[in-house]
């Protein structure tokens, strides 16, 4: 077996050294009735690199890769160009095969990167501080709701109907068992958000209001007055960003008064990967830092006075506080945070703004062309790189018909909200810099054909 360096002679010598007559002696604590003597019956035996690669390639080919079709899916996961150097750098063994930096003297590479990542995320979100990452956007969103409960000592959370339905489902799953009270609902196919209604609904029992920006239907709105309403009632405003590229063009949530900003960082540096691993972003005002979940990297000095970085404020965390920890999270999404940070460094502010402008421009071009199709209308009057179409028919069927024509043409609202007939004709369309004019033309032609 190519990964196992012990030879038969080594094994014999080592067994003798530990005073065992056979390997079974070392498994003596396992009751005989639970011990398997040979390899588990019916399972394949070891395989060569060639054989494994062949098998996996065969499975890979049973998928339609996004690069091989006009591609317009978003709804929480976005296809952007990732510079080649990102993937090269994250495969450096010193990053790839390192562990959580518990021994800072020999983990300054990871620690400095995390400090830079935290700084980038905080600046992008317009907040004071950010942590070293969470699993993904959906779990970061629930952690933010729990954090708001700890801070406000209230347990009623108002969720905007524009929140990603999976994020809402995660919150509902957890709230069922933690006895948090969620006020939520499905969106309606309207141009405006429900934020004014939320501002009116927030009261002295409300721990937090959760809004997504841009929201699940692609809409963008100003959260300033909602932030004011939250503040007046002692509630926190949590903003969720699933497409961070947008913040190269539009105001950050922090700038508009959000107290906690969480998000999905996949769009920058991390590929689609069928949904994971992604990277949860988590940021807030500095006064709440001791209630944050997850790891935090901080600056300090070493015994010789040189600047260095360490994991800090660990008394919030499970390995110190156990059942009193702010969260049970341990492993986070370090390597994806590295990919995010490298891509963001390559872009820089100028590159991010440029990228965002191209995304918005291309989305406008696509919206204009798709709106020309008979029976199709664009629901949004505001959006970044994603908008919702109203089709004359159930979008679920349309998506499959488009796929038959080789076009990956968006996410149907029916898949996300299967019980809501009023949304069945909705189709979420995302348009990034990876989409060409030809792709838009092909999508428009195919959509026109399947709707005819």
């Amino acid at each position: 077996m190519r990964y196992l360096p012990l030879t038969a002679d080594d094994r014999a010598a080592m067994l003798a050294a530990v005073g065992a007559s056979s390997i079974d002696d070392l498994f003596a604590d396992v009751p005989p009735e639970a011990r398997l003597d040979g390899p588990i019956a019916g399972l394949p035996l070891h395989a060569s690199e060639i054989a494994v690669e062949r098998h996996m390639r065969r499975l890979s080919k049973q998928n339609l890769a996004a690069a091989d079709a006009p591609f317009f899916l978003g709804a929480g996961a976005y296809r952007h160009h990732i510079p080649a150097s990102v993937d090269h750098l994250i495969q450096r063994g010193e990053f790839l095969t390192a562990y959580t930096p518990y021994q800072p003297e020999i983990a300054q590479g990871t620690l400095q990167m995390l400090f830079e990542f935290q700084s980038q995320v905080a600046r992008l979100f317009g907040t004071d501080v950010a942590n070293a990452s969470m699993y993904d956007g959906s779990t970061a969103c629930w952690e933010a709701i729990v954090m708001a409960r700890r801070i406000t000592k209230r347990s009623k959370a108002l969720l905007s109907t524009g929140l990603h339905p999976h994020y809402r489902s995660v919150a509902r799953t957890m709230a069922k068992y933690t006895r948090d009270m969620l006020v939520d609902g499905d969106p309606t196919l309207e141009a405006g958000t429900d934020w004014a209604a939320l501002a009116a609904a927030v009261d002295k029992e409300t721990s937090c209001v959760v809004v997504q920006y841009p929201d699940i239907l692609g809409r963008i709105d100003d959260m300033s007055s909602l932030a004011g309403a939250c503040q007046a009632n002692g509630a926190l405003l949590i903003a969720v960003v699933t497409e961070p590229v947008a913040l190269g063009l539009i105001k950050s949530p922090g700038e508009m008064g959000a107290d906690i900003v969480v998000g999905e960082g996949q769009a920058i540096g991390v590929g689609l990967q069928f949904g994971g691993p992604y990277v949860g972003l988590f940021a807030c005002k500095s006064k709440y830092v001791r209630q944050m979940p997850g790891r935090l990297c901080g600056e300090t000095v070493d015994a010789n006075g040189k600047r260095g970085f360490v994991l800090t404020l660990s008394t919030r965390e499970q390995h110190i506080r156990r059942e009193k920890a702010t969260s049970n999270i341990c492993t986070n999404s370090g390597l994806c945070a590295l990919a995010f940070s490298i891509h963001m460094t390559l872009l820089g502010e100028a590159g991010l703004r440029h990228l965002a402008a191209i995304n918005h421009g291309r989305a406008k071009a696509a919206a204009a062309e798709l709106a020309n199709i008979p029976g199709v209308s664009v629901m949004n009057d505001s959006y970044f790189n994603e908008f919702t179409l109203r089709l004359p028919t159930d979008a679920r069927a349309t998506v499959h018909k488009l796929a038959e024509k080789g076009v990956l043409g968006g996410v149907s609202l029916g898949r996300l909200y299967p019980d809501n007939d009023a949304l069945a004709n909705g189709l979420i369309v995302a348009v990034t810099e990876t989409v060409t004019e030809d792709d838009i033309a092909a999508f428009a032609a195919a959509l026109k054909e399947v709707l005819a």
Binding site: M1, L4, P5, M14, V18, L26, P39, I40, P44, L45, E49, V52, L59, S60, Q62, N63, L64, A66, P83, L89, R92, E94, A98, Y99, E105, M113, Y135, D136, V170, K176, R179, D222, L272, Q273, G275, G276, P277, V289, G298, T300, T312, L313, Q318, H319, R321, R322, N328, I329, C330, T331, S333, L335, L346, L347, A350, G351, R353, V399, L408, V411
Partner: protein, 517 residues
């Protein structure tokens, strides 16, 4: 740019006789290169990405960003150098033995990296029409099959994102099962030797945590456990093999006792690598166990993640597992059971615990790892891991206190304590001295059940020669600590940084770059 070392030698200084003759102008020491922050070397105008189009005039109305963001950019050449230099300040498995107990730092095969990057896995969207992702669903399904077979369990939930998320999944299954029975049991019993995630998970899900006493031999005290069981107990969370590196001999009896009072058994599977292919948790009465794909099945730790924590489930708990999951139908097609079909096909699910379907990028790697080893290779993995750990245990127990050494062999990790070190010398000193010897230290001060714990997990991917050298180094360091060698107190001497002031970091937290660009 602040890379230059203000304490370093300058032309105006005399050629010799400075405070530190070895000080350099830059602060660098040959291949040990200092590296500034991106905020100190980048600018907001610089970018390492070219675009085909000029930026179109964008008008998102009143939401247009006006204030600067403050994000530094670097050219590609500078970016590659920055991160390459940073990488060289890290220790990693690729550089040497990484014996962190309970963390399972084994070799990460590069075939797995190659496979994960195949376009059919890396470049597919989670919400693509399912007929266009049959191969991705097949990977999930095939890995699920292996996990079920290797554990002897009934089903598996694939979506949890890491070990602690898997714990949460298992605990929510228990909650849902109790709810279905109309019972409101509030207590979970967790031994003191458990990973911190266990009590944190139980509390996160709304349970009260109570301690399970341990025997002098470092195992769960079965009689004490039985005495505590009752109608208020929802279940137990037990790590097996446990964090002292010992197999819980009474596991089946524990499960039977817990089941007899209507409770459930959660097993923390962080240490499954010690028994994979040798013991099936399903045969021990386990109801739920998470498997850290980043431990047992060698997906890279990546400096702290991403992980992946599928949870195998008993027949009693499987109906409550989360959505979505990949199901195979009679015609051979695969489908995700998610919101749309859960009502008909998986009505008792506790719901969704993450967006999308889990850590696909980890599934492809873990499946390639499992296929490479096969049933025979995985069994060998467990045997070699246990042999290597016992070799370390027996080679060092004459110089380091091994509290459970006399009672028998260990499993995949060897536990020592600070007993017998010179006055004022600690486990931390040994750890820092090992850094100078070129090793990442072992897990220190965990588990909490012994004083000054040192938990060493060599894993199966280390050769005898590597172990012999490590044993020699640790023996040397241990003897120096027993003899009170003062040089140990200032270790590490040769790392990129000396001991860092963690108190200062916590007292005045600086968590982000605060300067202007």
């Amino acid at each position: 740019m602040t890379a230059l070392n203000p304490a370093g030698w300058r032309p105006e200084m005399s050629v010799s006789g400075g405070a530190d003759d070895s000080a350099t102008f830059t602060g660098n020491r040959a291949l040990m290169l200092e590296e500034p922050l991106i905020f100190e070397i980048g600018s907001t105008e610089t970018t390492g990405v070219d675009f085909d189009d000029d930026a179109p005039a964008a008008d998102p109305g009143s939401l247009m960003r006006s204030a600067p963001i403050g994000l530094p950019g670097l050219s590609e050449s500078e970016t590659v150098r920055h991160y390459t230099r940073l990488s060289r300040q890290n220790y990693a498995i690729d550089l040497g033995l990484f014996p962190l107990g309970s963390c399972t730092m084994k070799h990460n095969p590069r075939l797995n990296e190659k496979v994960a990057r195949m376009p059919g896995f890396a470049d597919v969207h989670p919400l693509q029409p399912q007929e266009t992702v049959q191969g991705a669903l097949a990977v999930i399904n095939e890995l699920a099959f292996w996990l079920i077979e290797l554990t002897g369990m009934y089903g598996v939930a694939m979506s949890p994102k890491a070990g602690a998320h898997g714990e949460l999944c298992g605990i929510l299954c228990i909650k849902a099962a109790l709810e279905a029975r109309g019972e409101d049991r509030r207590v979970l019993l967790v031994p003191e030797s458990a990973h911190g995630t266990n009590p944190a998970t139980a509390a996160f899900a709304g349970f009260t945590v109570e301690d399970i006493p341990a025997t002098k031999e470092g195992r769960v005290d079965l009689e004490a456990l039985k005495a505590r069981l009752g109608p208020d107990v929802a279940g137990v969370m037990i790590t097996n093999p446990n964090t002292c590196g010992l197999f819980e001999r009474d596991m089946k009896a524990i499960s039977d006792a817990v089941h007899a009072v209507g409770g459930y058994v959660y097993c923390d599977g962080a240490n499954f690598n010690a028994i994979v292919g040798k013991v099936r948790p399903g045969d021990l009465g386990i109801d739920a166990m998470h498997i850290n794909l980043h431990k047992t099945f060698s997906t890279p730790h990546g400096g702290g993640g991403p992980g992946s924590g599928p949870v195998v489930l008993s027949e009693a708990l499987a109906p409550y597992g989360p959505i979505p999951y990949a199901a195979r139908y009679a015609d051979g097609s695969l489908k995700l059971v998610e919101e749309e079909s859960a009502g008909a096909e998986h009505p008792e699910t506790f719901g969704r615990m993450t967006a999308f379907h889990g850590q696909m990028g980890m599934f492809t790697r873990a499946l390639a790892y499992i296929l490479s080893h096969g049933a025979d290779g995985l069994k060998q993995v467990a045997e070699d891991a246990v042999l290597n750990a016992n070799y370390v245990l027996r080679s060092l127990e004459d110089v380091l206190d091994a509290p459970f050494g006399p009672s028998g062999p260990c499993m995949h990790e060897a536990l020592f304590t600070d007993e017998g070190l010179a006055e004022g010398f600690t486990t931390l000193d040994i750890a820092k001295a090992l850094i100078d010897e070129g090793y990442h230290p072992m897990t220190v001060y965990f588990p909490l059940v012994v004083h000054g714990a040192m938990l060493i997990e060599p894993t199966e991917t280390e050769s005898k020669a590597v172990l012999d050298q490590f044993i020699g180094a640790l023996r040397s360091v241990a003897l120096r600590a027993k003899n009170g060698d003062p040089a140990l107190k200032a270790a590490p001497h040769y790392a990129p940084r000396a001991r860092l002031d963690e108190t200062l970091a916590a007292r005045k937290p600086v968590l982000a770059w605060e300067g202007n660009l």
